[in-house]
Symmetry: C2
Subunit: 582 residues, 2 copies
């Protein structure tokens, strides 16, 4: 067999020693053919890798393409540009909206990037008694997905109460887990989502076989989960100094993968998993280990034996780096094919240097995907809270947003009542309203939020995890109504209003959660949405994610669905009014 | 769920941190239920682990039960006594003799020890043109085995020439590999055997997907194979100071498993994988890492996610140790059940303290398994070499045994010729004769050996890897004939003769390779065989293995089959006489 090309004289990453050595790498077809100190090959084509670093293509095993509000074909070139050559996508957002049909539209898209899939285990995130989603993923859908060899795992099992039922009953998730094991035996991974679970609860969680977690970690949770055998997937919010120090001090690199989970469209323009690596390194992880945790460890977790390292027989998924600081690839090869090169780089003359994003990838979804938001037109009068009993005020249960991350706290606040109205605005709060948007039951639920907008204004979105009902948040009824109606007119999107004007908007016309337009445009629009939210005083490291997860009833502590506010751990409803004050 | 018992206050092995912590471990049924600093359980039964170490059951992923010349049921209690709770057995010896029928008789035996299986990939080790075995394992047999979920891998692929054919042809082994991948996808491992292969050859070997090796390593081979992505299984002969130092210095614990490969019956009485651990520690591997490499790493290699560590949901395969020096278990639990305790230990009052080996396990093989050695009666005159041409002597090709390991060297020696006879005895050599023993073709092949018996005598055996033809080795034709005839009378065994007397013998009445009697007796007999061989001056760390592998044509460098001597690397025949001297 002859090599098609040889990358010469680069510093090549030696996976098992976690170091670099000067090597030549020969590629034949899709695969690496030989790795040797010197290959004097008969091939015509040599790539000069002198002074560069060659690492395996990055492997991102926990992510949602919908978090970039786009679709596989458009995502692919941006992932590749960042050096990511393989992802395991959990399409649970599109599944919440369109069920199996949504998942199928993703899986049928051909991409240079290798996209494997997780079975969305928790669609809806809780149950149809607690939230309304477009579709459920149940046993029939799971059985169908298990037949596809691109399906590698059961995706983030979220609902502790269903996984470890107090009464020992046989729940849907337990049946899905059994089905996975019976159908696939050893060839399936069970991925979990267990924030703030520890002690006996954590033992019971892991006992079910669900043995990975990608939620926010602390040094203590890393140690406890690791000792109990849990695999940890660290995303940016987990990469704090104490967590990274714990990982490094205990050399947990075999048991830790870096993942993106959610990359917003505007972030995706800047990078993907490479940005998580850069952050890990900045936080103190040695670069050789950060590479390991984003190539070999994740590939092994997902049983992708054909990648994650540079060795004979492995896929020629290769990333050339000019340095080990910024992690911006000079060139990326996927299955032997040059799929990206830095426009400033001219070493790879045989390749076309087209700019990523210049030729957006088109894909047509079924026509009803573009008409999927069915709920009432808003009127400012909707956003009023009436007191049902007389009195001077109420003690209200309030969702408190934190300035970092998506976890909220449950608070109680005294709010004055005047003329039978609960004057939440005077208490400096925002009103959150969730409208069921699938045309199923017309649910409408109210919650109060502290720490959202400090100035007068509102935002509305159909991109509200995981059920993607229409969420309206604000402190100005006029702006709330305007935002809501604009989202309806767009058939999905993210809209920010103030002063009775639309300040920014991003259109998400497919299912209300993704855009079929070019990512560059979407990212620009979404950047403006983010700015507009910040301008209104929304204080969070990711304003959009923070607002959107207000409706995610598996993320601690107090959240709101179209059925009302919910205490996440107990899955018990929480009334808006705790007490009427005399 | 309630725990059946709790092991309290032991130092429990934390797999991912490779250290010990004081923990309580609760067991429910087959599985570990909880691991916590303090379990105040409702269970009635507590085991006091104070002052003891609790580690996961040992996992031996490369071994042959036939190397202990016994069968699964009899092997099981001895493995468990050593702390080994899981093995992956490659039944390629019984497969060489009886084909699928032989493998099936192994797989149908119920044992407390978990026995998984490798598909014998190389039966016969080379091809029917180069050696005669009882049976071949081909595509049909492989297909049948792949259907059994206990089959985890394609066992040691040995034949470089067939795996990497010079003419690029499609060989049997390449077809078997394809079948494995097509049938099982990611859920199958391809295990290799590639001694002394390096450089471009090694790249080509690994390119086929065969990415593990358990043969004798050097520091250099460890580094080269590791860098190319090969998984290493280290048996005793690889545990030299340079190898262990290389593993430790580069922290290759994720990529290295300790294995036994071949444990002779007399060794098995003393221990099994625990002895390899003890040697690794003695050679410089930290004990915490040696435990890792014999529990978690091997379990992961074989995708046995349900074991290899102590955590909730894992099988309760547990070994209690009094110290971390001798690795003699105080108690062993398999799938929650106490299967062994040291007779001197009385902590576990609820368990019967029966002595391992006291109640040998019986199993009846099909009757023709006891009548399987079909070859000619010997006569001393058989063991004569005639010169075909006139002259003073010959230059002969000679197999040189080394004092360590099973690899031989190819030498040439001048031997005088007198009266038409080649006087090999005068040159201080031994004669090796291989008789085809399946009644297929009556082959008989002659070779000369240096470094075997120094005194007058002979040995004969049907336990000659891998085809198990009848091998007779000696420097006294009378003793050779006597030994051969005794083996025939026993229908298989190992016999040593000198002074025209049988000095020692071990009966291997099932297929000529295993005994259906108690292991204790067999071990005693075999110990005597070993002593008798040493007494005759056979210089090797394992006399029996050294002699038996003279017939193994995939172990370097020069070996002999029933077709004659063979250069292993090229698989070319080597004539006994290189040149007639004038």
């Amino acid at each position: 067999m002859k090599a098609d090309y040889v990358i010469k004289h680069a510093w090549v990453y030696m996976t098992f020693r976690q170091c670099f050595e000067k090597r030549d790498v020969a590629v034949s077809g899709e695969r690496i053919f030989e790795v040797s100190p010197e290959i004097s090959s008969e091939t015509q084509y040599m790539i000069d890798g002198r002074g560069m670093y060659l690492i395996p293509g990055l492997v991102d095993i926990h992510m949602h393409i919908e978090s970039s509000m786009t679709y596989p074909k458009e995502f692919s070139p941006f992932g590749l540009k960042a050096g990511t050559t393989t992802v395991v996508a959990d399409a649970h957002e599109i599944a919440n909206v369109f069920g199996m049909e949504g998942i199928r539209t993703f899986m049928e898209q051909k991409t240079d990037l290798d996209i494997f899939y997780a079975i969305p285990s928790s669609v809806p995130a809780t149950s149809i008694e607690l939230e309304t989603s477009g579709y459920s993923i149940g046993e029939q859908e799971t059985r169908e997905l298990l037949e596809d060899s691109r399906v590698l795992c059961l995706g983030e099992v979220m609902n502790f109460k269903e996984l470890v039922p107090e009464d020992g009953s046989d729940t849907k998730i337990l049946r899905l887990i059994r089905m996975c094991k019976e159908t696939r035996g050893r060839d399936i991974r069970l991925e979990g989502h267990c924030p703030k679970i520890s002690g006996r609860d954590l033992n019971q969680f892991i006992f079910t076989g669900v043995d990975a977690d990608h939620t926010q970690q602390t040094a203590e949770s890393v140690l406890e989960k690791t000792d109990l055998g849990m695999f940890l997937e660290l995303q940016k919010k987990s990469l704090t100094n104490p967590v990274v120090e714990t990982v490094c001090k205990n050399r947990l690199y075999e048991n830790v993968a870096l993942v993106t989970d959610d990359t917003m469209p505007d972030q995706l323009l800047k990078g993907q998993l490479n940005q998580v690596i850069a952050l890990a390194v900045k936080t103190g992880m040695p670069v050789e280990q950060a590479i390991y945790c984003s190539t070999y460890t994740p590939a092994r977790r997902m049983r992708l034996d054909d990648r994650g390292m540079i060795g004979p027989g492995k896929l020629a998924d290769l990333v050339l780096l000019r340095n080990l600081e910024d992690f911006r690839p000079a060139a990326v090869f996927k299955s032997g094919k040059l799929v990206y090169q830095d426009p400033e780089e001219n070493r790879f003359k045989n390749a076309s240097a087209k700019k990523v994003g210049e030729n957006p990838q088109s894909f047509s979804f079924p026509s009803h995907f573009y008409h999927s938001v069915h709920c009432v037109q808003a009127d400012p009068s909707l956003f009023t809270l009436k007191a049902e009993k007389p009195g001077s005020g109420v003690l209200a249960n309030v969702i408190k947003i934190n300035s970092f991350g998506t976890a909220t706290d449950a608070m109680q606040r005294e709010i004055p009542v005047r003329n039978g109205r609960i004057c939440w605005q005077e208490a400096g709060l925002c009103l959150a309203v969730v409208f069921e948007r699938y045309g199923k039951n017309g649910n409408m639920a109210f919650g109060l939020v502290e720490g959202a907008f400090q100035k007068q204004g509102a935002a509305a979105t159909t991109w509200s995890h995981d059920s993607h009902n229409l969420l309206v948040l604000g402190n100005s009824p006029e702006d709330m109504a305007l935002a809501q109606n604009r989202v309806l007119a767009l058939q999905g999107g993210y809209v920010v209003c103030s002063g009775n004007k639309v300040q920014a908007e991003a259109r998400l016309n497919v299912g209300g959660i993704i855009s079929d337009g070019p990512l560059n445009q979407l990212a620009e629009d979404l950047g403006k949405v983010r700015e507009a939210m910040a301008e209104l005083g929304y204080l969070n490291n990711n304003e959009i994610m923070s607002m959107s997860t207000l409706a995610l009833p598996v993320s601690p502590s107090l959240k709101i669905t179209d059925y009302g506010m919910l205490e996440v751990r107990s899955q018990r409803p929480v009334p808006l009014i705790a007490k009427y004050l005399p």
